[in-house]
């Protein structure tokens, strides 16, 4: 029996798992029209690689990964691309985002699927396969897996943690997945372990899912992977909380688990890794729980891009007293504003909410400083202080109190006797701080660009001044030449140089005659070469400025100088400006 290392705080809300975990996963029928968002992961959205009107096959890449932190998206079925335009997406803002809409032809024709022998392949090739198959973390953060499955830390990865805790109430998609497809999950874990070379592999499952734990134990026979059943306590499925539970190690503030030699992935992700590598199938579907105020709550395996309204219909449709829908769990999820929004990789659960199941919260009352939130906080923060600072928009203080270590689990809001929506305040403060940081960065860039421009203007001014000085000197010289008065000193110098050149020529001819054997000299003479002549060189201009005429060559004094022309233009420019303003 393994020892657990309890994490701080936690809450135990009613589980509501039995509603949806009794029936096996049902395949969702093919929708007529599928809308695939290009932003289904953290990082840069995918870049569309198809055009409107293109025929696509099931599993064909329609959006390519853009940059390092990004992943590809794929056509969930065969059909025709009918639109690439903003469409409602499952996002708390309710704002539309760029999506590719595919009209299904109903034939479900696959692209060619080739398995990859990962044991004999270059690990980087396996990672690229994962990126191009659009494999992202399905636990909720949708972080591109190929970035995560890279043992970049110099110390290497000691522990690979598989997260099957599924601690949020109502959600059962991982539970059903582990019960029904434990073998596939284990195959995926093998690939992950191959990439990361950990010393131990731990699979954490909460004790309210005994069937899933049993199935996983059976599948792990002979692999050395350990299934660890952890007590049910929200949020044990939080990455840092599960790592603490299983290994006793705490991820330092502001760092990632990889810094302490641990990597944590969702069991659903492991399954998609297996499908991508061993079957060549990209992520085009996922298991989603439909529960709450519906007649037949259960899990469905639906194609990415299926309208959420259709998925709700599969569970018998929402009952008439449904007031709203929650995407994700009731603790961390958000309200769905538009039922036309499609299923995306991050959506693990749709809950139809009715006043009976989710009574509207009583109006928030002032904070009474009871400190219950601090007792419940799994990150050992001071939620009441963070609330005061966020409430008064004292962002520097909020940051100093480690606001960014908050995982927004909602345990504090759950226990708050004053019913204050604490997490809403933290989310507000976090996004406001992030935005201000970005503005600051942009301001710094702008300052840099401004200074560079000032430097450039200064440099150009100096160059111009130098040009004028040169030109003035040249003009003075030309004037002197035109008047016919030659500098006697210069003439003497010229004569001396000429004499030196003659001497050098004579010397060279002598040396060549002495060195060269006679027959060669004769032959050279036959070819008409003049060996005695100095080597030909291009006529050199002695004037320092190549664009200006040499002495006596042009009529520079007569034409308007460039400086005068430029002054004229500048004058006009200024006039224009004043007129326009």
């Amino acid at each position: 029996m393994r020892t657990f290392y309890k994490f701080h705080g936690g809450v135990h809300p009613p589980e509501h798992k039995e509603e949806s975990n009794r029936l096996p996963i049902a395949p969702a029928p093919l929708a007529k029209r599928l809308t695939v968002p290009l932003r289904q992961h953290i990082g840069n959205p995918a870049i569309p690689v198809v055009k409107v009107g293109d025929q696509v096959l099931k599993g064909q890449m329609i959006g390519a990964a853009d940059g390092f932190i990004s992943a590809a998206v794929h056509a969930p079925t065969s059909g025709t691309v009918s639109a690439i335009e903003p469409h409602a997406v499952p996002h708390p803002s309710g704002l539309p985002d760029l999506c590719i809409t595919i009209e299904a032809d109903g034939e479900e024709r696959w692209i060619e699927r080739a398995p990859l022998d990962y044991r004999n392949a270059d690990p980087d090739a396996v990672r690229l396969r994962l990126r191009d198959a659009g494999v992202v973390g399905l636990g909720g953060a949708v972080f591109p897996s190929y970035v995560k499955l890279n043992p970049g830390a110099p110390a290497g990865i000691k522990t690979l943690v598989l997260n099957g805790a599924e601690c949020e109430p109502w959600i059962t998609s991982d539970d059903r997945l582990m019960r029904e497809r434990a073998a596939e999950v284990v195959e995926g874990i093998k690939i992950m372990a191959h990439l990361m070379c950990p010393k131990e592999v731990l699979i954490g499952i909460e004790d309210n899912k005994p069937e899933a734990a049993a199935a996983m134990r059976a599948a792990c026979q002979g692999t050395g992977y350990e299934v660890v059943v952890v007590p049910t306590l929200y949020p044990s499925g939080g990455e840092k909380q599960l790592i603490k539970l299983l290994t006793g190690k705490e991820v330092p503030a502001g760092q990632r688990p990889v810094n302490i030699g641990v990597t944590c992935s969702n069991t659903g992700t492991a399954c998609t890794v297996h499908r991508a590598v061993n079957h060549g199938e990209p992520v085009i579907s996922r298991i989603v729980t439909v529960t709450g105020n519906v007649p037949e709550p259960r899990n469905f395996e639906a194609l990415i891009g299926t309208p959420i309204a259709e998925i709700i219909q599969l569970a018998g449709g929402a009952r008439p007293d449904t007031t709203h829908y929650i995407l994700g769990g009731p603790m961390m999820g958000f309200g769905l504003n538009n039922l036309n929004a499609p299923l995306a990789k991050a959506v693990n659960c749709v809950i139809a909410a009715s006043p009976a199941l989710f009574p509207p919260p009583p109006p928030p009352m002032p904070c009474i400083r009871c400190g219950r939130c601090a007792q419940a906080c799994p990150c050992e923060l001071q939620p009441q202080e963070l609330f005061w600072f966020s409430h008064s928009q004292n962002f520097d203080k909020a940051r100093a109190y480690n606001l960014f270590d908050c995982i927004e689990c909602g345990a504090c809001s759950y226990v708050c006797p004053s019913h204050i929506p604490l997490v809403s305040y933290y989310r507000f403060a976090k996004s406001e701080i992030a935005m201000r940081d970005m503005e600051k960065k942009l301001a710094e860039q702008a300052k840099e660009r401004f200074e560079l421009k000032q430097q450039r203007i200064e440099r150009e001014k100096q160059e111009k001044a130098a040009r004028f000085a040169e030109k003035a000197a040249a003009a003075a010289k030309a004037a002197a030449a035109a008047s016919g008065v030659e500098d006697p000193e210069a003439a003497a110098k010229k004569a001396a140089i000429q004499a030196a050149v003659e001497r050098a020529k004579a010397k060279k001819a002598e040396a060549a005659a002495a060195l060269l054997p006679l027959p060669l000299r004769e032959r050279a003479g036959e070819r008409g070469e003049n060996l005695d002549a100095p080597s030909p060189s291009p006529p050199s201009r002695t004037h320092p400025h190549p664009n200006l005429p040499l002495e006596g060559e042009g009529t520079i004094a007569l034409s308007p100088s460039r400086g005068e022309l430029e002054r004229g233009f500048e004058g006009e420019g200024v006039k224009n400006n004043t007129e326009a303003s």
Binding site: H91, L95, S424, M435, L442, A446, R449, F450
Partner: protein, 177 residues
């Protein structure tokens, strides 16, 4: 006592040389607060000259129009003076972020806007169409009057998923039955 005085005096003298502060740190702090649009709407030729004027007490801390009341507030705090809203008593929040947009069919390629842009974010050449590097534009509006054919418009940046942020929680007040 005299001895102690001499020793402490020597320590202070040494410290004043050893820990001498180069330049005026207040100017740097003020400048770091400014949005660096370089728009000149404060009446100075850029953010740095305005920062110097504010630090020297020659300018009011509420003259930065793009920064709005947020910047005015931080500057007032920094200087220890009373906060006055930007543009008089009614105040103004920070201006909604705008960026310049060049109507490419009207642009005659005169390069006037390129010369006007303080952050070099308009690209183009003489008699060729110009365009704005959108993510570097500070929205200073200096290019708008420079254009002889009025082909530059300031467009407000629309909210999208990439720049969306969580709003301040607003609790609806319901009428008691």
């Amino acid at each position: 006592m005299v001895f102690l005085g001499i020793v402490l005096g020597a320590v202070l003298g040494y410290a004043s040389i050893r820990f001498k502060v180069e330049g005026n740190p207040l100017v740097e702090k003020v400048e770091a607060t400014l949005p660096q649009t370089q728009c000149g709407q404060c009446g100075y030729a850029g953010c740095r000259p305005y920062a110097e004027a504010v630090a020297a007490g020659k300018a009011e801390p509420n003259q930065c129009v793009p920064g709005g009341d947020n910047v005015a507030k931080s500057l007032a705090e920094l200087l220890g003076v009373e906060f006055k809203p930007v543009g008089g008593d009614q105040g103004s929040g920070p201006k909604p972020k705008q960026i310049a947009f060049i109507d490419e069919s009207t642009c005659v390629g005169c390069t006037a806007c390129i010369k006007a842009c303080p952050v070099d974010c308009i690209i183009g050449a003489s008699k060729l169409m110009h365009t704005v590097i959108a993510n570097q534009c500070t929205g200073c509006e200096l290019c708008v009057p420079a254009c002889p054919v009025d082909c530059i418009a300031m467009l407000p940046v629309k909210e999208n998923i990439a720049n969306w942020k969580w709003h301040y929680p607003v609790i609806e007040i319901k009428k008691a039955a």
